[in-house]
């Protein structure tokens, strides 16, 4: 199902995790060396600058190559060009599978990324150019969806995963928009429902060990789902969509959408804090900004400069006092960039106590009771 060698992907995952542990001092240099020897992933994954350079040259190469291809074959009809585009897209896919991933063992090298993007866009352009001029937009999205979905699953690509999510959402919204009379009421709620579904799907998916290789794609989906959930109910977006699609001055249920505009960001931040979910909290912070802009768009309560001064002062004070508070109260939340070091010492002490107390080294059986019993209830405190 995955184009890349999954044993190597596993080895990479283990190495990355072990590297983090080694960095924190949980693994000794000796152990880290052993991990490196035991788990080898002979992928070609260059430095990020080389990756950008490779992608850049690969793009020029492919564009010139498709031009040459068209000139050589001398296609002159629309249908001929479309067929050749699709054929060329398949050729690049073959190059990706057989050469880049197969023999050259590329993984995130810029070459494999670009080959994939180019193949997908050329195939989709070829297919869509054959549709009649007045085709519904919905049809384009429906054609693109299977390609995007299959490619993001097979090639573990985050950009295509994001494209798949947006494509699905657009299909749903365009379909709902075609329902007579009810569309106005259903549109925001279908967006929310879809986003919520995608969010829970991504959350559950990240916990599944069998889906470990898709972890980063699912994180992208989760992030987008949180954003689109808020966007579906944001008053400014609902109002603009109402004016655009239905020529409405005032949307129905305005109060609900105003409430939604302000409550959801706060809820995101609070839930993010309690569940230690950084993604949700950060998106919540972004949504607060969106809520403020939405409010200012409709109500000009004070001049911009005063708003900036007061807003800035409030932000500054909040951040400053939170930092002061966290400095004094170390615990579940911390201001330290790398707050794990103190915890490490604490664990060290606990372990020493434990071993001295029991007078024999803990066995595997000990481990479970130890980890679960003593520290299991440590969760989030109620400081916030």
């Amino acid at each position: 199902m995955i184009a890349y060698n999954s044993t190597w992907l596993d080895a990479l995952l283990t190495r990355d995790t072990a590297h983090k542990w080694h960095h924190k001092g949980l693994l000794s240099d000796e152990q880290w060396k052993q991990v490196q020897e035991r788990y080898q992933a002979p992928f070609y994954t260059p430095n990020v600058f080389v990756r950008i350079g490779l992608a850049f040259f690969c793009m020029i190469l492919l564009s010139a190559a498709i031009g040459l291809f068209m000139l050589f074959t001398g296609a002159d009809s629309d249908g001929g060009i479309a067929a050749l585009s699709i054929f060329f897209g398949l050729l690049s896919l073959a190059a990706l599978e057989l050469w880049a991933i197969g023999s050259a063992r590329h993984f995130g090298s810029g070459v494999d990324d670009m080959l994939l993007y180019f193949a997908i866009s050329v195939i989709l352009t070829g297919l869509c150019s054959q549709l009649p001029y007045n085709t519904d937009t919905l049809v384009y999205y429906c054609i693109a969806l299977p390609f995007l979905l299959a490619a993001s699953i097979r090639y573990l690509d985050r950009l295509l995963a994001a494209a798949t999510f947006i494509c699905m959402l657009m299909i749903l919204l365009l379909a709902v928009n075609n329902i007579p009379r009810l569309a106005l009421y259903l549109l925001p709620f279908s967006g929310m429902l879809f986003s919520a579904g995608a969010y829970f799907f991504a959350q559950k998916g990240q916990l599944r060990y069998a889906w470990r290789h898709w972890h980063r794609q699912l994180v992208v989906v989760e992030m987008l789902a949180l954003a689109t959930f808020y966007m579906s109910g944001n008053y400014w977006i609902v109002q603009q969509a109402g004016a655009e699609l239905f020529q409405l001055e005032q949307v129905p249920m305005a109060d609900f959408f105003w409430l939604f505009t302000f409550i959801v960001p706060v809820a995101y931040i609070l839930i993010g804090l309690f569940k230690k979910d950084r993604l949700m909290m950060d998106i919540g912070l972004g949504c607060i900004a969106a809520a403020v802009f939405t409010f200012r768009y409709f109500f000009h309560v004070m001049p911009l400069e005063w708003a900036a001064v007061i807003g800035g002062a409030v932000l500054f004070a909040t951040a400053y006092f939170s930092i002061q508070y966290l400095r004094k109260h170390e615990g579940t939340y911390t201001y330290a960039a790398d707050g794990d070091i103190t915890l490490l010492q604490e664990i060290e002490e606990q372990l020493i106590e434990q071993t001295i107390a029991s007078q024999n080294p803990p066995t595997t059986g000990d481990k479970n009771t130890f980890g679960g019993g003593e520290f299991g209830g440590g969760g989030a405190g109620g400081e916030f």
């Binding site: 350079g53 911390t334 707050g339």
Partner: protein
Amino acid sequence: MHPPILQNLLQQEIITPEDAAKIDIFEAKKPFSLHWELKSLLYLGVILLNIGLGFLIYQNIDSIGHIALIALIGVISAVCLIYAIRHRPPFSAGASESPPPYYDYILLLGCLTFLIMEGYWQFQYQIFGTRYGLATFIPMVLFFGLGYWLDNRGVLSLGITALASWVGITVTPQELLSKNDFNSATIVQTGVLLAALLTLVPFVSERLNFKKHFSLTYLNFAVHIGMISCLAGMMALDLEVLYFPLLCGAVGFYLWYARTRGSFYFLTVAVVYGYIGITYMLITHTDSLNLDFMFYLLYFVLSCTGVIFFLINYKRFIKNDAP
């Protein structure tokens, strides 16, 4: 996601059950760092506050008066710089140990407000008159001095920028006043010379073993100023005879640097600039031959294939033991 990995490492007998227990507790009790979020909020707050206050002052400038304003900005700048100097890390020829939090930002704020104050002075009272060179020379000296003394790369970058504008301004005004147009030849020549100078500095400081960690800052400015000047010389001045060999030399130099120091950044940058130069030469010099469009497409296909293979295999070519 970590338990299966831990299990796996246990089975491979790389770690002992004791280590596994340690890691388990660690993963369960990891504190949640709000560092990034709170810091962003703090800076966002400061920026908003500054924008708002700036606007307010701008609107009420009649009632406040210029002197008071300049004094205020000057005081801010002085306070920041004095703080930075008093809390400076002990001086060393190498990299200093990390200073307290906010230190970098206070220092940068001091430097930027100094620039604003100077600009205000010049704008309102023309204290430098038309001697613009002096106006950039003073901050240049200040920033270079502070950058080296307080060991700060951000301030050093400001200093290099001031140096570039000082050099640029010193060579242009006469031309500008006499012919009323920018003589770009002087600017391009200055750019090349400045880049050469900036490239030289890291090697001298490495020889003297003094502030070696500033090398990247210098070279980053040097590579872009130098290559863009060469390309400008080729394209705008039509002096390919002079600037194309210069560009080739610069590309060769940075490839050599990338190889010996294991720097992928300079490798990619040099390859991209070199490719642009060579492609430009090819296109302008085959213009009169009326070649088929296909020739150019073929050129792109073949050259890009070559570059891609070069970049891929350069990994084996680059020295791994480089620092």
